[in-house]
């Protein structure tokens, strides 16, 4: 049997709480990252991703406590990202129990960071997160993709999607892989939060250019979207937040659907 496709719930953490629509649960500890991590792990999630969306220095201590708490609560792999700028930042997170660190803005600004992290902790520890947005203004030197809505290139954004960089996401991925990236977490800014499905053209274009695993992110709303990420998008894993947080489609429901569609899924 080949490798199982992975289903990855993502938890955005700020000030020690998980945000992004879990409020409806209204339980005593509904926003507690450790408790949610345990719940997802028990439900059959294959991996978890934590993104510290505040990522300010005064919150690092809180984040470390959370990482340690999560490591004690679950026994599946998890990645932590947000505000990791140096190898020292990464070491703290990894020594607190995380399996991988995810870098985004800092890697774009200082690509050597990827190599340093890979040399110190191993390539498998280094996830490069790319926030990409379709740009319809075709430029020379960019990889133009013929999509169903016309030609586009995919532009990298940093600072949580606030800053366009003019960098081509596909070219960046190829370069980052050579520098030591062990995995890519590719978020479509066009689709994020829409629940219209992943940007399959972005996912596929990137997946075909790298030889390390690709996690599709941004836009999952229905079980079919996960299926498409694997079949049309050629992704190795699919990440989602709101479908899981709202309990609209719990992890076992998604996995059962995929299994029936012939996708290899961990039971």
């Amino acid at each position: 049997m080949p490798l199982a496709k992975r289903i990855i719930p993502c938890l955005d953490v700020t000030g020690g709480c998980v945000v992004k629509g879990i409020n409806f649960l209204n339980l005593k500890n509904a926003g507690d990252p450790v408790e949610l991590a345990k719940r997802y792990s028990d439900a059959g999630a294959d991996e978890l991703v934590f993104l510290d969306i505040t990522a300010s220095s005064d919150n690092r201590e809180t984040l470390r406590d959370i990482v340690e708490g999560v490591a004690k609560a679950i026994n599946i792999p998890f990645t932590v990202g947000g505000g990791i700028r140096t190898t020292a930042d990464a070491r703290l997170i990894l020594c607190s129990g995380a399996d991988k660190v995810s870098v985004n803005t800092a890697a774009v600004q200082n690509p050597d960071l990827i190599t340093k992290l890979a040399d110190l902790f191993g390539q498998q520890c280094v996830v490069v997160a790319i926030d990409a947005k379709r740009n319809r203004k075709i430029e020379q030197g960019k990889v133009t993709i013929q999509t169903s809505t016309g030609p586009v290139w995919f532009e990298v954004y940093t600072y949580g999607g606030r800053k366009p960089t003019g960098i081509d996401a596909l070219q960046w991925a190829t370069r980052a892989m050579k520098l030591g990236a062990g995995e890519f977490l590719v978020t479509s800014m066009d689709r994020d939060g829409t629940e219209d499905g992943y940007d399959l053209e972005l996912t596929r274009a990137l997946s075909e250019r790298v030889t390390v695993p690709v996690i599709a992110s941004g836009g999952a709303g229905r079980p079919e979207h996960f299926l498409e990420a694997f079949t049309k998008g050629k992704a190795d894993a699919a990440l989602a937040a709101s479908v899981f947080h709202y309990n609209k489609y719990p992890v076992p429901v998604i996995k059962e659907y995929l299994r029936k569609q012939g996708v290899i899924i961990r039971s």
């Binding site: 049997m1 080949p2 490798l3 199982a4 992975r6 792990s41 294959d46 340690e68 490591a71 004690k72 026994n75 599946i76 792999p77 070491r91 990894l94 020594c95 607190s96 129990g97 995380a98 399996d99 110190l120 902790f121 191993g122 390539q123 498998q124 520890c125 062990g182 995995e183 030889t211 390390v212 695993p213 190795d236 894993a237 961990r266 039971s267």
Partner: protein
Amino acid sequence: MTQVFILDYGVGNLLSLKVALEKVGLNAKITPPDTQLKKADAITLPGVGNFTAASKSLAPVKSDLVNVVQDGVPILGICLGLQLFFQTSEEGPGEGLALFKGKNIRLKGNLKIPHMGWNSLRIVKQNELFDGVSDGAYVYFVHSLYPEPEDKTIICAQTEYSNLFTSAVADKNIFGTQFHPEKSGDVGLQILQNFARIVSR
């Protein structure tokens, strides 16, 4: 209480293994390799790092470690820890513990390397480490190399990726998994529980 040493010979996440061993009732202690190994009731060689670097940092204690294991102390090697049971590795120069004859070779083929994620076990030899683990169970892998034992009878599980490779070995008190039981959910916990039972008797 049963004392398990987790030999720290590199940089990486050893906390997960410690926590997992504690969950199955073992008293796990992360120790530098030059610790008094005779005090250990069991040893785990965790799976972080590179063969050459690990071989260097284990070199000063190699004979002690081998002696302790030959005296019957249970040892569990995980990932690189398992690879270190063998003689050499295509990853780089250096010598392993040579508890078994054989070398570690790279996964080949056109699939993505490292082999990272959940894959299934083909149990080829039932073994007490796999009590309660069913054939086809999914476990978590992160690796680019795997051991090729000369003595095929020590192989207790194989896994298919770009090729069929050895994913677990067992021989008397020596156990090794190419996957990470501490990251393999309930299946992994079962395997560690079995190891704890072996250690405690």
